[in-house]
């Protein structure tokens, strides 16, 4: 049964809510929907799931862009209502008929809504009945699964795996992200999970089959527990050297000079002073080139739509009466998507962005004297500015001061894949903090890579800051914990923790990282990503976030809080990686590394990035 159906304006005023349903919604699903989905430019997605202790809802929505209205339907996730999309479309049509900008009460809509709902339910019933007969639709099968008790196990297993196949085909468009997950798969997971405990060993291994289905959906129920049990015995074994091929294990190579660790008092380095860090310099964005840009853009847009209906589009652009349809937006959006992809934006992200912009423009009236391409361009620009604007404070100094008041050091952990520039940029951040009279301490928790500790030691000597190190082959989580205790003891304000680079698919290393973060609860988890990365950025960030969430033991897992974009000087104008990373993780870009010396650290200039992306 539908929990709630709301109609509200884009400005926030609720125009109509279904009066019949007296039960209030738990939590605030509508606000969560707006904040994490619609304002994050994910409005092209199919549905949104909202979980709160005591209830789990799924929300579906539709826009009426011309009048600036939003229609949202909320229902319990376990009930799989098929008629919701249908109902929303009908409600949109009817409401648009009676809408008046001056009015704020629409009580008579109640009757119309009841009628529409009954019609939609009836249609869904019919479809279900025909599905039962034909036996090919997903919905019917599911009702059978829920309704029937423990009957022929083999048949049901076949049914459930068949459902899995259908479900995946059907939900092929929705993307696999923690947020927007096909409600089908989750529901199946819970239903099958219960059945699984009951079923005995069948002809084929049900566990493996269901695990495969579930793992594709990214659900963490049984897979993690089984993997966890596998990992337990592994942990008890002593850490072995990594063997790359069949060569015999080598003798331990540790060239650390034992004298060096004590002897660095003799070598006094003068503290490095390379001037002001670029973080504090204002970036002058040239605006005089905007005019040329617009003309260039017009030229491109013109080229696209030249042959097809030139006269009609000219007429429309002057008269400005046409309602934008999906077909009209297609070519302009495709051109924009291609342009974004040439700027190194991940393909998936560009696709989703275009869908979101299409959802927000459909049905809108073209203003007079504007072309479709310029409207689409303006909407895309606004969307990009919205995504890249940080949604939480990126003022680290404020956080440092707050932690100082509480008497604890402010802990920043640098994570990322191999070779992105964690150690280099850690030194740059330390330099910047030093310029603001903050006392910094480094913690060398990269105990794997040869030379990592020495590298940090050199930086520490040049910057004249203390460094906490325990050499190689130690547990990084423990090293970090001790480093933080040491910092609290000697009164350092900030602790910068360097970790080893790791691939996002490497399960044991991700587990170790998760352990480090859980054990130490840092104030800022900074993901270091290079600007040269292409489509892999999406994979890296999703897997990192997923592993941090899954393998966390606490109630509220720590996810990536910020992004540090490196090697920005090596890309000329292919700045798309910034957009991909911010979109996929929701975390703001806190620093941008643009060179290899201490001063090459700046803030992200949103306007200039958007301009470069759309050039």
């Amino acid at each position: 049964m539908l929990e709630q159906l709301l109609v509200f304006t884009r400005g926030g005023l609720i125009l109509w809510a279904c009066r019949e349903i007296s039960k209030a919604l738990q939590g605030s699903p509508i606000d969560a929907l707006i904040r994490s989905c619609l304002l994050e430019e994910r409005s092209g997605a199919v549905s949104y799931n909202y979980d709160v202790p005591g209830a789990s809802y799924t929300l579906k929505w539709t826009f009426h862009n011309e009048l600036g209205l939003v229609f949202v339907a909320v229902y319990q996730r376990i009930l799989h209502l098929l008629y919701v999309d249908d109902l929303l479309a009908m409600v949109k049509k009817e409401f648009a008929g009676i809408y008046d900008p001056k009015r704020t009460e629409y009580d008579e809509f109640e009757a119309i809504f009841q009628q529409l709902r009954m019609e939609a339910e009836a249609r869904a019933e019919e479809m279900k009945k025909s599905a039962v007969q034909v036996g090919a639709k997903v919905g019917g099968r599911k009702l059978e699964l829920v309704g029937k008790g423990r009957s022929d196990q083999g048949g049901k297993r076949g049914g459930s795996s068949g459902d899995g196949g259908d479900g995946e085909l059907g939900k092929g468009r929705s993307f696999e992200n923690g947020h927007v997950n096909g409600g089908v798969r989750e529901e199946k997971g819970s239903v099958d999970g219960k059945k699984e405990l009951v079923t005995q060993n069948g002809a084929f291994d049900v566990n493996k089959l269901q695990q495969k289905i579930r793992s594709k959906g990214g659900k963490k129920t049984d897979t993690v527990t089984t993997k966890g049990s596998k990992a337990e015995p592994k942990k008890k074994m002593v850490k072995k050297n990594r063997v790359w091929d069949d060569s015999p294990p080598e003798v331990k190579l540790d060239f650390t000079d034992p004298v060096d660790e004590k002897g660095d008092d003799n070598v006094k380095f003068v503290a490095v002073d390379e001037g002001e860090s670029m973080m504090d310099k204002e970036e002058i964005v040239s605006s005089d080139s905007e005019v040329d840009e617009d003309e260039q853009v017009e030229g491109d847009g013109n080229g696209e739509t030249k042959k097809k209906g030139w006269f009609s589009s000219m007429f429309q652009s002057i008269a400005g009466k046409a309602n934008l349809e999906k077909a009209d937006l297609e070519p302009a959006l495709k051109a924009l998507k291609d342009r974004l992809m040439t700027k190194n934006v991940a393909e998936e992200i560009a696709e989703k962005l275009c869908e979101s912009v299409a959802a927000s423009l459909e049905g809108k009236k073209l203003a007079s004297f504007t072309r479709v391409s310029s409207t689409v361009q303006a909407a895309m620009e606004e969307a990009l500015v919205r995504i890249l604007t940080p949604n939480r404070s990126i003022d680290i100094l404020r956080g440092v001061h707050a932690a100082k008041e509480q008497g604890k050091p402010y802990v920043i952990v640098f994570i990322g894949v191999n070779g992105v520039g964690k150690s280099t940029n850690l030194a740059k951040v330390a330099y910047w903090l030093l310029q603001h009279k903050v006392s910094v301490m480094m913690a060398a928790c990269d105990t794997f890579r040869s030379g990592a500790v020495e590298q940090l030691r050199t930086h520490a000597r040049r910057l004249q800051i203390p460094i906490f190190e325990k050499g190689y082959e130690k547990d990084p989580a423990v090293v970090a914990k001790e480093a933080i205790q040491e910092a609290a003891r000697n009164g350092s304000d900030v602790v910068l923790v360097d970790t080893a680079g790791r691939m996002q698919d490497n399960e044991p290393l991700m587990r170790a990282l998760s352990k480090l973060i859980n054990l130490n609860d840092p104030d800022l988890v900074l993901f270091v990503g290079e600007a040269l990365v292409g489509n892999d950025a999406v994979d890296q960030l999703t897997k990192f976030n997923q592993k941090l969430a899954d393998l966390s033991t606490s109630q509220r897992p720590r996810l990536i809080d910020g992004i540090l974009l490196t090697k920005f000087d090596t890309i000329d104008d292919k700045v798309g990686a910034a957009l991909s990373m911010v979109y996929i993780s929701g975390a703001p870009v806190m620093f941008v590394g643009c060179g290899q010396s201490y001063t090459d650290l700046k803030k992200l200039n949103v306007k200039s990035i958007v301009k470069t992306l759309l050039k």
């Binding site: 709301l6 509200f8 884009r10 400005g11 926030g12 005023l13 609720i14 125009l15 109509w16 809510a17 509508i30 606000d31 707006i34 904040r35 619609l38 304002l39 994050e40 600036g68 939003v70 704020t104 009460e105 002001e276 504090d280 310099k281 204002e282 970036e283 500015v385 919205r386 995504i387 604007t389 940080p390 949604n391 939480r392 404070s393 003022d395 100094l397 404020r398 440092v400 001061h401 707050a402 603001h436 009279k437 803030k603």
Partner: protein, 263 residues
């Protein structure tokens, strides 16, 4: 190109006789009259420009800003219609309206309508503030008095950003810090809120001005360096008030609006 030249030639032909006539007529007018005519036109132009500059048209725009969930949209509809209707959700776009305040509708005197802009509080939509600030006559910063302690830092940062914007400082835009949701029992008092905000802004001042003079975000420093920050040190007028959007107790807001939008 040839076509254009042809057109030019044709136009020249048409205009030529008129040109000659006008030249003759001008030559006929005595010099003094010509000069006086030009002088009069010149003087009139200068006078009109002076008059337009001196008569500064006072804007009638009031901005409602604040964190998400502080009650701005409810306040907007209270001012416009006298009730908050069926409730609100997080705004995605600004609400704008030019109207006479609902409580003043029954007055017989002709009152100038006020243009009120309710800006979304969500951090991703903050840049919209810069679009409306130049034409504003006053800003109401709405603070949630109920959830104040958990949102104090974010509110103080937003308020600090507003108070240090160039437009606000140069045009001395008056700010009313409105403590909303005071009908609830556990809401904090406005004195407490004022003191907390002053303390937070003081800390922000210390951390932001430690940065060298070219800080991107804040363009001006607040208050007197060396002394703890107080709202009375701002060059523009900053006052604190209380209100309750849901019950309609918005008299202090209306007073602020009437004070700064003169009819």
């Amino acid at each position: 190109m040839d076509e254009i030249e042809q057109w030019k030639a044709k136009i020249q032909e048409l205009v030529d006789p008129f040109q000659q006539q006008i030249q003759q007529k001008i030559q006929n007018i005595p010099d003094i009259q010509l000069y006086t005519a030009v002088a009069i036109i010149f003087v009139t132009l200068i006078l009109s420009v002076i008059v337009r500059l001196s008569k500064k048209k006072k804007s009638n725009t009031i901005i409602l800003a604040g964190l998400s969930g502080s009650g701005k949209t409810v306040l907007f509809y209270q001012l416009q219609d006298g009730s908050s209707h069926q409730g609100t959700v997080t705004s995605m776009e600004p609400n704008e309206g030019t109207f006479v305040l609902h409580s003043e509708l029954n007055k017989k005197v002709k009152i100038r309508p006020v243009h009120i802009v309710d800006l979304p509080g969500h951090s991703r939509l903050r840049p919209k503030l810069d679009d409306y600030l130049p034409q504003s006559a006053g800003l109401v910063f709405v603070v949630d008095a109920l959830e104040f302690l958990s949102t104090c830092r974010a509110a103080a940062e937003y308020l600090y950003d507003i108070l240090t914007k160039a437009t606000v400082v140069k045009k001395k835009v008056p700010v009313l810090i409105l403590c909303n949701k005071t009908e609830k029992v556990t809401a904090h008092s406005k004195e407490f809120i004022r003191k907390q905000l002053e303390k937070e802004i003081d800390k922000l001042r210390a951390s932001r001005t430690a940065i060298s003079d070219a800080d991107i975000s804040s363009e001006y420093t607040l208050g007197v360096p060396g002394q703890p920050f107080q709202f009375s040190q701002c060059t523009n007028k900053v006052t604190v008030g209380e209100a309750s959007g849901l019950t309609g107790e918005i008299s202090q807001v209306e007073q602020f609006i009437r004070e700064h939008v003169k009819s």
